[in-house]
């Protein structure tokens, strides 16, 4: 009941006219960047990080949360009408939703995606509301050893388990941790990897890395494959109001998708890819029309879209309660907290109740706005999809440049931005995931801090990590997460005749 009181207070914060305006701005910008291919919430929030110097934290986080949720809604519109999934989590939607659109059922596909997203995000937000306090109580028992072990587990699952290759995922992670090490060591003040330059002493700005990888890298990648015929934007010909049969086939898929997505998102592993695929296979299994799968089955859009949004909501649980980001966007949000000198984690609920509960309340409100924004107004977003490529990418690069150069006025940062763009291009072309770089960059320094604290407590004895049951369990899980899939693969290979 204590929670409901907090939540009521949160609504009082979120419903002030100024915060409502921030929320509207957030969900609108979020939907737009979700719709535009090549842009995403991580990049957008990174570009808006300079706002944190000017705007009070509650307003900034209401804006960022709106972008975070909005991008999920917008992304499904693009997958359905354009069949270019912006991220791996929307591959399934692109698969079934685009097929539906080709059969003239684009309206129903958009509708089931939007309403499913609404149902999932709302249930997910309820999950955040009631999970945050108990999880914080558990987290308060964590010492540096447990935190470090938890971070190791998150590192491993984010880079080695999700994605197509453990080796490439871990390489991305190591690169990210390396970028995070550059600059003055926080504890001893010694410069590391600065190559004697003055500009690198303060470390590499998160904004530069995120914008370099996601905006410059993506633009380079898309330019390099222009010979490929561009995909056409499909028309919405049917009504966006679903028929009774569509509703009957959708609602159970939404609920199932939500309950698959939220718990997986809330685990220290995070990731929206596994729950969407899982939901897709569950729906295919349970459907009365399995023959429609692969040719535009509405359950195949409803379930995975719900799973995607629910897991996005789930990711906020470890972020707010433990300070543990498990996606690129969550990591950027963590760095936004840092620029306010706020530490997310167990103390956050006590030290910043206005911020946390205002943020959670704004998620409920934002969801309702998003439903309106994405169903009756879907025609508007279809127009945005038709912006010609030359203008879109020209604009993206101009904003990427001002976002970086504008805050530091340093040509070194600009060169770094474009160099990281080159790295992003290679990573995209050779299938290295980008999220572990961002997570390594932001979580790496925190992990190092916890590691050194732990070592100070236990007088430099590494065994201390294994002496504590909780940290031992977390480290064992991490070891299993790396070794398990490799062992499974070699076992299967042995079964197959050579």
């Amino acid at each position: 009941m204590e929670t409901l009181g907090h939540l009521a207070h949160g609504f009082a914060v979120a419903l002030t006219p100024i915060n409502l305006l921030w929320c509207i701005a957030g969900v609108t910008v979020g939907t737009a960047v979700g719709v535009l291919p090549g842009l995403g919430p991580a990049l957008t929030i990174a570009l808006l990080l300079p706002l944190t110097y000017k705007v009070d934290p509650t307003a900034a986080f209401i804006l960022f949360a709106g972008i975070y949720y909005g991008a999920m809604y917008g992304g499904s519109t693009t997958s359905i009408l354009l069949n270019t999934p912006g991220e791996s989590a929307t591959i399934v939607t692109a698969l079934e939703g685009n097929k539906m659109a080709r059969r003239g059922k684009a309206g129903a596909a958009l509708s089931t995606a939007a309403i499913g997203s609404f149902v999932a995000a709302t249930i997910g937000t309820i999950g955040i509301t009631f999970l945050a306090v108990p999880l914080v109580k558990l987290a308060l028992k964590f010492g540096p050893h447990e935190y470090f072990a938890l971070m190791v587990l998150a590192f491993v699952t984010v880079s080695a388990v999700l994605g197509s290759s453990a080796v490439r995922g871990l390489t991305s992670l190591a690169f990210g941790i390396l970028l995070g090490l550059v600059g003055n060591d926080l504890q001893t003040g010694q410069p590391r990897f600065t190559f004697g330059t003055f500009e690198l002493l303060d470390g590499i700005n998160v904004l530069v890395v995120a914008v370099g990888l996601f905006a410059v890298g993506e633009t380079l990648y898309l330019a390099s494959r222009r010979k490929t015929a561009p995909a056409e934007v499909l028309q919405v010909k049917d009504s966006i109001w679903m028929s009774r049969a569509d509703w009957a086939r959708s609602w159970k898929a939404w609920i199932r998708g939500t309950f698959i997505g939220f718990p997986i998102g809330a685990m220290p592993a995070g990731g929206a890819e596994i729950p969407t695929f899982l939901s897709y296979f569950v729906e295919k299994r349970l459907s009365k029309h399995p023959e429609e799968f692969g040719r535009g089955a509405i359950e195949g859009v409803a379930g995975p879209e719900a799973a995607n949004n629910a897991s996005a909501a789930g990711v906020l649980v470890p972020l707010l309660a433990l300070g543990l980001p498990t996606s690129a966007t969550a990591a950027i949000l963590l760095s936004a907290f840092q620029s306010y000198h706020i530490n997310p984690g167990p103390m956050l609920l006590q030290s910043q109740p206005e911020l946390v509960w205002g943020l959670i309340a704004s998620l409920y409100i934002g969801n309702i706005m998003l439903l309106v924004l994405n169903l009756p107004l879907v025609g508007l977003w279809v127009k945005i999809l038709k912006i010609p490529e030359p203008l879109l990418y020209g604009g993206i690069l101009v904003f990427a440049t001002i976002g970086t150069y504008g805050i530091s006025r340093s040509v070194v940062d600009l060169i770094l931005l474009y160099a990281l763009g080159g790295v992003g291009f290679l990573m995209r072309r050779f299938d290295f995931p980008a999220a572990p770089v961002i997570i390594g960059l932001i979580l790496g320094p925190l992990a190092e801090q916890q590691f050194r604290r732990a070592m100070t407590i236990s007088a430099g004895n590494l065994i201390a990590f294994l002496d504590r049951p909780l940290s031992l369990a977390l480290l064992l899980l991490a070891a299993f997460a790396v070794a398990g899939p490799i062992a499974w693969r070699s076992y299967r290979r042995r079964l197959e005749p050579a």
Partner: protein, 156 residues
């Protein structure tokens, strides 16, 4: 393992090994105060060195065994488009201090649009200029970030 060696993937693996060597070399140069010797500022750098070295070797071995990038749907690179885009970025770095943000960004916009196949230079220059102008105004005047002067900026 008699598949062909994947040249690109092997080079990439070796590049990661090279990065590990550079990181290791730079780690030895980190000054350490004796008080912190046990869990000092070098522990994580060495960890990253070890990770990069091991992963670089693993990637190189994968490259030798045929690599992974062949299975990706990689079309041949459109060199012309990529070239225009790289030129756009290079010009921006060279011009931004000399000519100022607005002119440099307008050029960036026009060249990027060219990279994506536009030949309507006048239109692109107009839109690019408007966008750069608006961005400059918002950042420099409204948000108060000093972006610096330039050929056009000094008249504003």
């Amino acid at each position: 393992m008699n598949k062909d060696v994947s040249r690109n993937d092997t080079i990439l693996g070796l590049a990661v090994v090279l990065l590990a060597i550079i990181v290791g070399w730079q780690t030895t140069l980190i000054p350490v105060n004796a008080i912190y010797a046990k869990v000092g500022p070098k522990v994580f750098p060495w960890l990253v060195t070890a990770m990069l070295a091991a992963l670089g070797v693993a990637l190189t071995v994968q490259g030798f065994r045929g690599g992974w990038s062949r299975q990706l749907e990689n079309e041949p690179i459109d060199r012309l488009s990529l070239g225009w885009l790289l030129l756009a970025l290079l010009l921006n770095v060279l011009l931004i201090k000399v000519a100022g943000f607005i002119i440099a960004s307008t050029m960036l916009f026009v060249f990027t649009a060219r990279a994506f196949g536009s030949h309507r230079y006048a239109r692109d220059a107009g839109i690019g200029f408007a966008l750069a102008f608006a961005a400059y105004f918002a950042f420099d005047r409204l948000l108060g970030y000093r972006i610096g002067s330039g050929i056009i900026e000094r008249f504003l």
